[in-house]
């Protein structure tokens, strides 16, 4: 479960995030939409305690992230926009290392099981990460989430730069995690993918959450219209 309460981040006079309040329960996928600089990544960084809030609180599974910076990370998995792993280690080794330092001691067969579950092709298990595509690295990231038995998933632009097939695969993986009761926060520009995978959708602008929808209640074209309206977009008249 992800909870934020009046979360605010200021950089001098500039407000990066303004009174952001949100709850994402188990099995929910919340997609944050918004232009660059709207505050999506700031929200994720605050939840990871990579930056400290100016005011307000954020908690993971009911634990405050500022007060319990290490404990809260045991519950979450973070997949940054460009997930980087140790290029000279294989997929299995990377998974072993990251789940290992997170406190999960696993056998090679169970590690391979998680990679398989995350959809990585079997012949890539013992190959070095250096040659992996972004989609393949993300699958390893999902495998880390599975291995950690994660409760919370934080995703920053996971589908940017993925081809439609890889993007679709990724969506299916999120569904799988959702069924395990994982609470997911996903920042994205990809309206289509958001509509596909999300249970809830929020639109941000200038650090403020402007609109929220339940995904099933809104069509893709309506979502696009609302998004453009929020951005004060004037349609070009051709």
């Amino acid at each position: 479960m992800i909870t934020t309460n009046n979360l605010t981040k200021m950089y001098g006079d500039f407000t990066a995030l303004n009174n952001f309040t949100l709850t994402i329960g188990q099995g929910a996928i919340y997609c944050l939409l918004g232009a660059n600089g709207a505050g999506k990544t700031t929200t994720i960084n605050l939840l990871l305690n990579f930056i400290s809030p100016t005011s307000g609180t954020a908690s993971i599974n009911g634990l405050d992230v500022v007060k319990n910076p290490i404990k809260t990370k045991a519950f979450l998995t973070y997949i940054p926009e460009n997930l980087m792993l140790y290029s000279s280690l294989t997929a299995v080794e990377n998974l072993d290392y990251f789940s290992g330092i997170a406190g999960k001691k696993l056998t090679v067969s169970s590690l391979k099981g998680f990679l398989e579950e995350a959809g990585l092709q079997t012949d890539a298990f013992d190959k070095r990460i250096g040659a992996f595509s972004k989609g393949m690295r993300q699958k390893v990231g999902i495998a880390i989430a599975l291995a950690k038995d994660t409760k919370v998933l934080l995703l920053d632009e996971p589908t940017s730069g993925l081809d439609p097939k890889a993007s679709n695969e990724f969506g299916l993986l999120l569904q799988k995690l959702k069924e395990k009761g994982v609470a997911t926060l996903m920042a994205t520009h990809d309206l289509f993918r958001a509509k596909e995978v999300a249970t809830h959708i929020g639109i941000m602008k200038d650090g403020t959450l402007r609109q929220q929808f339940v995904a099933n209640d809104i069509s893709l074209s309506k979502l696009e219209k609302e998004y453009l309206n929020t951005m004060d977009y004037k349609e070009l008249v051709l």
């Binding site: 973070y78 792993l85 330092i101 997170a102």
Partner: protein, 476 residues
């Protein structure tokens, strides 16, 4: 976390070929420097052995001559060189006062290229003019020797810097840090473990490489087991210091390039700047009086003394009545007057000459107190001490030789002033030089280095806890 770091750090180091490269570099550096050091020690040993052989040869000749003379035979040598004359023995058959290399002398050249390792003081030798410097090309003295101490003090820290400057920043630059920081671990702790492991592996490589090199070079490390362990402990203490610095720089400074510049700046500071500034400080606070002015003083005294030699001899004999009691002839020759004058000159000049040794001792004390400012300096000094090539080793040798020269001279005075001939019975009574080595307490260098390192480390950990470092994850 530790067991995973342990397992994967080694894998990563192997796959990035760091371990292989480092082993090769260490073997080469240790090999070349030990080879140089050993060559120097061997040359030193052979030169001293040759000097001893020469003395033995001359002694045999002298005993033969004495034997012939005592049996009243005619010999074909200039009368003043005959060994029945005590001053001839004192001047033409001197003993070797040598400074044999210590077992670990190959470690550091220290002052060994500057000073000579044996002198043969004669009875008329002027203690102050005795030349203890070696005939080395000054260019060589300027450049110094590529010895093990150079590798350890100068190059090892650079290897450590190259090995550790970007432990954290490389993760940031390659993007893995975001994933790491999202794990339930403390980043300072993680950096500490990584560096600790690198320290461990480098220590293993250093110990193994050094041991292999020494065994190949035929240096019996088992026989000198204790000293060898002391050497290893000092090296590890010194390495620890640089790893701790790397830890602090990794935590506080941002990018790899900045880290490298900062580490290098520290290297320049500790290895190049602090020693030269301290040297300058020592020379300014305790300046050496001018040697040229000392020469002037000595010359004036000498000129004065030669003018009143007879008077001086009378005074001298009045002070030393024991020298002439058994002599009935009371014959006085050149040597009688000369030795009495020398005695006077020596006594008069002693305070002037002593100022040099005293100033040097004061400078040394100052350095001893301040050397902790730079671990490089501490290390060099301790390695020199271990090798027996430090300034104080040579200082002690000089002092002992001067004492021996005195003993040697005094040994012939009763012969001279009693006008007594030297005979083969007196041969076995000739004084011999025996060097007492300075005692070296090995713990001196290791514990303070360890203390400095641990102090810095705990300071770093404390500040990193208080400061809530965020490691600039956002702007990578």
């Amino acid at each position: 976390m530790f067991s995973y770091n342990f397992k994967y750090e080694l894998k990563l180091l192997f796959r990035s070929r760091w371990i292989q490269l480092l082993s090769l570099i260490l073997l080469l550096l240790f090999g070349f420097s030990t080879f140089n050091g050993k060559q120097k020690v061997e040359k030193r040993k052979s030169v001293i052995a040759m000097a001893h052989d020469e003395v033995r040869e001359n002694d045999t000749k002298m005993l033969k001559l004495l034997d012939s003379l005592q049996r009243g035979m005619e010999v074909s040598a200039s009368p003043w060189t005959l060994p029945t004359r005590p001053m001839a023995v004192g001047n033409y058959y001197p003993r070797v006062a040598a400074m044999e290399p210590q077992p670990m002398a190959f470690v550091s050249t220290g002052q060994a290229d500057l000073f000579t390792h044996f002198v043969k003081p004669t009875a008329t030798a002027n203690d102050f003019a005795m030349n203890f410097t070696e005939m080395t090309s000054p260019v060589q003295l300027l450049f110094g020797s590529f010895d093990l101490a150079f590798v350890i003090v100068y190059l090892l820290p650079l290897l450590i810097i190259a090995f550790s400057y970007n432990v954290l920043s490389a993760e940031k630059e390659s993007g893995t840090l975001r994933l790491l920081a999202a794990q339930p671990i403390s980043i300072p702790n993680w950096v500490l473990q990584k560096l600790g492991l690198r320290f461990f592996w480098m220590a293993v490589l250093v110990i193994v490489a050094l041991t292999i090199v020494l065994l190949i070079m035929g240096i019996d490390i088992l026989a000198e087991g204790k000293l060898y362990l002391v050497l290893l402990a000092m090296v590890l203490g010194y390495m620890l210091f640089w790893f701790v610095l790397a830890f602090l720089v990794n935590l506080w400074i941002g990018s790899s390039a900045k880290n490298a510049v900062a580490m290098l700046g520290l290297w320049v500071l500790f290895v190049l700047m602090v020693p030269s500034v301290l040297n300058q400080l020592g020379n300014t606070i305790y300046p050496m009086p001018s040697r040229t002015l000392m020469i002037n003083e000595m010359r004036e005294l000498k000129a004065e003394v030669t003018k009143k030699q007879d008077e001086i001899l009378d005074n001298y004999l009045r002070d030393h009545p024991e020298y002439a009691i058994n002599d009935t002839t009371q014959k006085r020759s050149f040597w009688h007057r000369y030795m009495a004058s020398q005695h006077l000159i020596k006594r008069e000049l002693e305070p002037v000459v002593n100022t040099y040794e005293e100033q040097l001792k004061k400078q040394q004390r100052l350095v001893g107190r301040l050397k902790w400012v730079s671990p490089a300096l501490t290390m060099q000094e301790s390695l020199n001490k271990l090798a027996g090539t430090s300034t104080s080793d040579y200082e002690s040798f000089r002092a002992q030789v001067v004492t021996f020269a005195e003993t040697w001279r005094e040994h012939f005075m009763p012969f001279l002033y009693n006008n007594q001939e030297f005979s083969s019975q007196d041969y076995s009574n000739l004084p011999k030089f025996q060097l007492t080595q300075q005692s070296f307490s090995p713990a001196v260098a290791f514990w303070p280095l360890l203390l400095i390192s641990l102090g810095l480390l705990s300071l770093g950990l404390l500040l990193s806890k208080k400061g809530h470092q965020k490691f600039n994850l956002i702007s990578s």
